[in-house]
Symmetry: C2
Subunit: 190 residues, 2 copies
């Protein structure tokens, strides 16, 4: 990809979110998103299959960050250790200058069934990818599923807290906390 | 509801599945489903908002079975005990004469992104409802989420096995096994 590509995606994502907030998700067209970003519809479709996918542009990168970190964890790392390292890698990609964007994105997704479904699917896919990466380390299936599930749960709980404009901790700090909290809760189950 | 209503729903569900298999999900219309069931389009829309929802007709009943059983579990039952009892209640509703239906349904859902998304949403909603029911028993949030998540995971793993026509165990038997397996795996995490 040419050097300007990441910026093009970013412009489309921001234009889409602005329009979804101003006019509503249903009323916004791909042409309007491209216009607002100062780009053509053709460029839009080079980057995204439809307007819904714009809001989930990060899925591939997030999947890669998670799975690479799990794979790269020390050989003797337990499943939960590997997942915790992967959470650090994933959350480090959410810099604090993205907090406002996330705060604006949240109600848009929450207010539309189609977007909620897509968000639920992303979450399930991230968990599946993390579980696969753990299996690749030789972790048995059920343990891999549970460890991955716990990590993804910790991530989303942390993300919800982080996207509050009043929150001052980094996403990594919050995620470590939610992860440790869930881990402690797991020990109380019986 | 009048006495014939459950049968109407069932006829629509079976007609829809037959048509989705014969013609494909995208090519099938609501009118065709109603026709095949010997009913009108108006009747269809009295039961389902669109053709996708026909395949998820059981969601409300499944949610109710799970949450009522969790709420009704003995006061001193641990979160996992309550979830296990709820799994028994849920799985008992899948009688063995539904195994063939489930076996035919599986590839239809797996073969279509829109249906996969809906299935993922159903799974997430069941887990949320079970977690809410546990919170209603005084189980702290993180423990409730984990216990509910484990139960729903056990259910779907068991369902996948049960829907194999070669399988002879009941869904309840399989689910108890997958639940206990996940529970044992949880103890190995660290």
């Amino acid at each position: 990809m040419a050097r300007w590509e990441p910026n093009t995606r970013e412009r489309l994502v921001r234009a889409a979110l602005d329009l979804f907030i101003e006019r509503g998700y249903d009323a916004t067209t791909v042409s309007e998103i491209a216009d607002r970003a100062g780009l053509t519809k053709t460029t839009f479709f080079r980057h995204f299959p439809d307007k819904r996918e714009v809001l989930f542009a990060g899925q591939d990168v997030h999947t890669r960050l998670l799975t690479e970190a799990i794979t790269a964890a020390p050989e003797d790392a337990t499943p939960l250790r590997a997942v915790r390292a992967a959470l650090d890698a994933l959350t480090a990609s959410f810099r604090d200058d993205r907090r406002d964007f996330s705060a604006r994105l949240r109600p848009v997704v929450a207010g539309h069934g189609e977007l909620q479904e897509r968000a639920t699917l992303k979450r399930a896919r991230l968990a599946d990818a993390a579980a696969d990466a753990l299996r690749g380390r030789g972790v048995p299936g059920p343990a891999a599923d549970l460890a991955a599930g716990l990590g993804i749960r910790a991530f989303y709980q942390a993300y919800d807290q982080w996207a509050d404009p009043a929150e001052r901790r980094t996403l990594t700090e919050i995620a470590r906390h939610t992860f440790d909290e869930l881990r402690a809760a797991m020990a109380t189950l019986d």
